[in-house]
């Protein structure tokens, strides 16, 4: 266990040389390489971060675009739907109006036809009735039909109430007797006489022809009107025929 001081100094020198050598060949290069690699990795990470950020931004912008596009599409779709609904309701309204128009037109036609039919029927009925009655009266009696009518009218005058008689008697205007046929002077005097007996001799009486009465006689004086004619009966007949047609109208469908 001895110390060789020369060897010691040599070893000190050796050690210092080794320190220098390793510093230059080991520590510095290795640390430098590690630092550079760290830097490189950090750069790459930064780069990757940047790219990720970029990608995120791009993604976000694309998503926004997509969302706005979707919204736009939805809006367009909604608009189109609205339009379609509007058009549809318009078309339905038009169709309804058209139908109503056609229907009312048809109804009018039907009602006109009915009226024409009823008019025709009435006319025919009157003619038939008149003919039948005329024939029947001619066959049944020796007097003329006009005479019977005058008699009937006179009887009707007799059946007048007091109020009407007074009203006729007070009249300042002359009474007018309209007949569907020509009265001979005897009949006229009979009628005038009958009237004078009833309401007084002051009342003047005029005679006129009125073919629209068909078959009958009518007295008019101011607001009073006394008549017997087939037209009245026919009015009744017409009313009853129209009544018969009424159920026909109600069975039609309403609009």
């Amino acid at each position: 266990m001895e110390i060789n001081w020369i060897t010691v100094s040599a070893q000190v020198v050796n050690f210092l040389i080794l320190v220098w050598l390793l510093k230059h060949f080991l520590y510095q290069p290795v640390i430098r390489a590690m630092d550079r690699r760290d830097q490189k990795i950090r750069n790459r990470m930064d780069e990757a971060d940047g790219r990720e950020q970029e990608a995120l931004n791009a993604k976000q912008s694309y998503q926004q675009k997509l969302a706005s596009f979707e919204k736009q599409r939805e809006e367009l779709l909604e608009e189109t739907r609205q339009e379609a609904r509007q058009t549809r309701s318009q078309m339905i309204d038009q169709a309804r109006e058209e139908t109503a128009r056609v229907r009312s037109h048809w109804m009018r036609e039907v009602s006109e036809e009915k009226t024409a039919f009823i008019d025709g029927l009435r006319h025919q009925s009157l003619e038939v009735v008149e003919t039948v009655i005329r024939k029947a009266l001619q066959d049944l009696a020796d007097e003329r039909l006009e005479e019977r009518i005058a008699h009937t009218f006179i009887r009707k005058l007799h059946e007048l109430d007091e109020e009407t008689r007074e009203a006729l008697g007070r009249s300042s205007e002359p009474a007018t007797i309209a007949t569907s046929f020509e009265l001979d002077p005897g009949q006229r005097s009979t009628l005038t006489r009958a009237i004078h007996e009833l309401v007084g001799a002051d009342l003047a009486v005029n005679y006129t022809r009125a073919p629209e009465l068909i078959c009958g006689i009518e007295l008019t004086c101011e607001s009073q009107r006394i008549s017997w004619n087939l037209s009245d009966y026919l009015e009744e007949l017409t009313a009853s025929i129209e009544k018969a047609f009424e159920p026909l109208e109600t069975t039609e469908p309403g609009v």
Binding site: T7, Q11, F15, L22, L26, V30, R36
Partner: protein
Amino acid sequence: MTITPDSIVYWQGGDFALNATIVFTWLVMALLTLGSWLVTRGLAEDPELSRWQNLLEVLVVGIRDQIAQVSHQQPGPYLPFVGTLFLFIAMANLLNVIPGYMAPTGSLSTTTALAICVFVAVPVFGVASKGAGAYLQHYIKPTPLMLPFNVIGEISRTVALAVRLYGNIMSGTVIVAILLSLTPYFFPVVMQLLGLLTGMIQAYIFAILAMVYIASATTVHEHGEPDEHQHNRPSEP
């Protein structure tokens, strides 16, 4: 039986004797330098590393971490000195498995030389980090009465450093040599393995203690308190 490689002299020139210690030291130096140079001339900066570069990086990073842990300082300035202490002693002890090789660390001259280097390095680093005045003040703390004890402590720990390494390595060599003459088979191999382990531990201890001494010199006055590293240093076998 040769105990110390100092006594094997290959060439004598005046007072200077080229003994086995110096020759094997050169061998270790050559191996370390050559190995480092071979690996580091083609260092990769990409994340893909060669195995050898990986090994060197693990070594360097490991040493740096140890220094940082012990000193609580940036390892940069201390790495060459402390790292070389560790690598040299470790390599010198590792090669012990080669027949005919005698570890230079088994010579008291080598360990003394290393201890002297540490002895000098401590004030050098201390002065470099805090200035001469501040460094020298810590010898008279807590009172000037402590000056002789501080100085004695400085010297004695240096001696201990040298003798500890020498004793451990030399004893390993001696034990193997004695056992070889008693039980030539198997048992010396076990002792060789034990010797390898001891060699690695001693390299670690030597480097760590050197770092602790340097750290105590560079940090004690920055905190204004007695150095805690000296109290926390690893137990010395």
